[in-house]
Structures are given as structure tokens and as C-alpha cells.
Symmetry: C2
């Protein structure tokens, strides 16, 4: 049901077979007929921040994408988590890379499953330490938005929309929680 991306063994280069491993595992895996390596394919984490500014956090930093997919659409700073970093460290790195923004990272804010594409998106709230940004090559423009100015129809991803919706709702309540959910 989930097309495998693996055609050749990462260990020896032999063309793999897609079958049950026969070790009790109930999922079809890419298995090397020569060296026996079983290749697992798993969901990826996307980590990012909600960088806010102002005495009551009334403005949020968005980045206009300069890369595909969703070129020209607005997003919160986020990207794929890398080996050697924690979810929070990855979120800080992406915020620096995409927006050139200095932040103090705060609590985990949303954990959103996007099962269709095999991703889990984790966003942290983050206090901006400056309102001067130096966006990287992935970003056309980085700027602050008040709630009433958020380009809701031009957001790049549904996880960004849901995270922004939760942020402004919690801000009105005066209390921030952790929000979980599935994006279909």
C-alpha cells in the first residue's frame, strides 16, 4: 500500500525484493537477496518554531518560501530534523537558516501527524530576541504579522495553519498548551 523508495541494497547494491522478512514482522520490507539486509522505511520529523515578538507576543514571524514545494507561499520556519540534534535543536537551526532570526526556544507547542506523506510536524514556541532578520537562500522575505494580517489563504502547509490557529487561540486564553492532531 505504501510504495517503497528502495530498489537496491544500501549495503551491496543488489536489487532488493519486497516481501515479508519471515521473522514475525507483518510488513513487507525491501530485503536484499544477496546479503539479507532488511531496509526499513519510516516517517520523518519536521521541526520548526512559532517565533513571536511584542510585549504580548502579538506578532509572529513568517517566511515567504523561495523553494519548491509551495514556492511563494508563507510558512513558519521548519524543516527536516537531522541526525545529531534534538527536536528543539533542529527547530532552532531551521529558524536560523530560513529566517536568520535569533530566538529563545520555549515549550513544545504542536505535534501534528501528516500520515499521507509519512511526516510528524513538531513546533515549538520561541521568543524573538530581535526583529531584524537575515533570511537564507530558501526564503524570499521574512517578516512579522499580526493575527489580522496573517495570509491564511497563502500559507504553505496545513500544519502551519493549524499551529498558527492554536497559537492565537491560546494567546487569547492567556495559556499555552501542547496540541496534538492529525492532518488528513
Amino acid at each position: 500500500m505504501w510504495p517503497s523508495k528502495i530498489k537496491h541494497c544500501r549495503e551491496c547494491g543488489t536489487a532488493v525484493e519486497h516481501r515479508l522478512p519471515g521473522d514475525g514482522d507483518t510488513k513487507v520490507r525491501a530485503i536484499c537477496p544477496r546479503c539479507g539486509t532488511i531496509h526499513y522505511e519510516n516517517p520523518l520529523n519536521v521541526v520548526g518554531t512559532v517565533p513571536f515578538w511584542g510585549p504580548q507576543g502579538e506578532q509572529v514571524l513568517l517566511c515567504k518560501r523561495n523553494i519548491e514545494p509551495r514556492w511563494g507561499k508563507w510558512t513558519l520556519p521548519a524543516g527536516f530534523m537531522e541526525l545529531g540534534e534534538s527536536t528543539a535543536q533542529g527547530a532552532v537551526r531551521e529558524t536560523q537558516e530560513e529566517a536568520g532570526a535569533d530566538i529563545e526556544i520555549l515549550d513544545l507547542f504542536t505535534v501534528l501527524n501528516v500520515v499521507r506523506v509519512g511526516q510528524v510536524h513538531l513546533y515549538y514556541r520561541a521568543r524573538l530576541l530581535s526583529d531584524v532578520f537575515q533570511p537564507g537562500h530558501e526564503t524570499q522575505e521574512a517578516r512579522l504579522f499580526r493575527e489580522e494580517d496573517i495570509p491564511w489563504e497563502d500559507l504553505a502547509f496545513r500544519t502551519v495553519r493549524e499551529t498558527l490557529r492554536c497559537y492565537f487561540a491560546d494567546r487569547r486564553k492567556g495559556q499555552f498548551g501542547v496540541h496534538t492532531g492529525d492532518i488528513s
Copy 2:
């Protein structure tokens, strides 16, 4: 710094080179010199539950492992998240596979980074619907423990210990939150 597991291209089987892609990416990747495929290696999610039983959730279900690593040690039901499922669905699946336990899944409870091994562990609280268990082949024994009987010195993983510690601490407070942290 992070040894690549990839020696051959998954698309064409050619031996890969480990170098910067030259697209602005600052990380060394496994790149195919023949077809150009860039292979990314990313952290994996481990998903599981804290299955509790009793009017005040005073007992927790642990499984004695029948597989390596940590054969014979006790763990909460947990395993690698798969494509095609959400974090919560994966946690339910692992609980059924390892403990044969029927549960009602509740809120996300811990999000623990284990950077050293490239993993993020996510545990959900879960109400047991029965105290009869049918453990699978990965489990020698599945049984309920009160706080004072938890085999703290014989737990399989530090994320299990931290999650159990948070569970009993929150239970005493009468309020469950979401706990995040890094396991070194």
C-alpha cells in the same frame, strides 16, 4: 561525525560518495555519482504507551522483553513508528503486538529525544480495558506493577524510566501534562 549507513544507491545500486550536495545544504550526504540521488538519513520515532489499570490508575503494564537489545529487561510497550500510521496509531499497534492489551488511547505524555542513537520517543497515556493480556513473541511476560513494585533497576531503556517517573509524579499531583526532555 555521524557514520552513514548507506554504501550503495537505493535507485541504481552504484557505490555512493559522501560529500556536500552543493545545493546550499551544509551536511555531508550519501550521493550517487551515477544518477545523482541524494540519500538523507534522519532520526526515527519510537512510539508507545503507559497502559494503566485500577480506579486511580495505580498499576502500570510492563513487558519483559523476549528480544535483543535488553533481553529479559522490562519495558513499556513501544516500537518504531511505521509509514501509514500516526504516532497514536503506532502506539496502539505496539501495545497490541507486544502485550496483547486492549486500550483506550489518551493524551500524548512524553516526548524524549535520544540524540546519541538518532531517536525520538513519544509515549501516550492509555487506559487498559481489560487486565487479561496476550503477549506476542517479543514479550516473555506482561504484567501490572504498582509504583512500589516497579523494577527500576531492570528497566530496558532510560526513556521508559523517565516516562514512568513522570507518570507516578503527575499521578500524585492529580494532573497529567506533556513532558519533554533529552536523554543523554
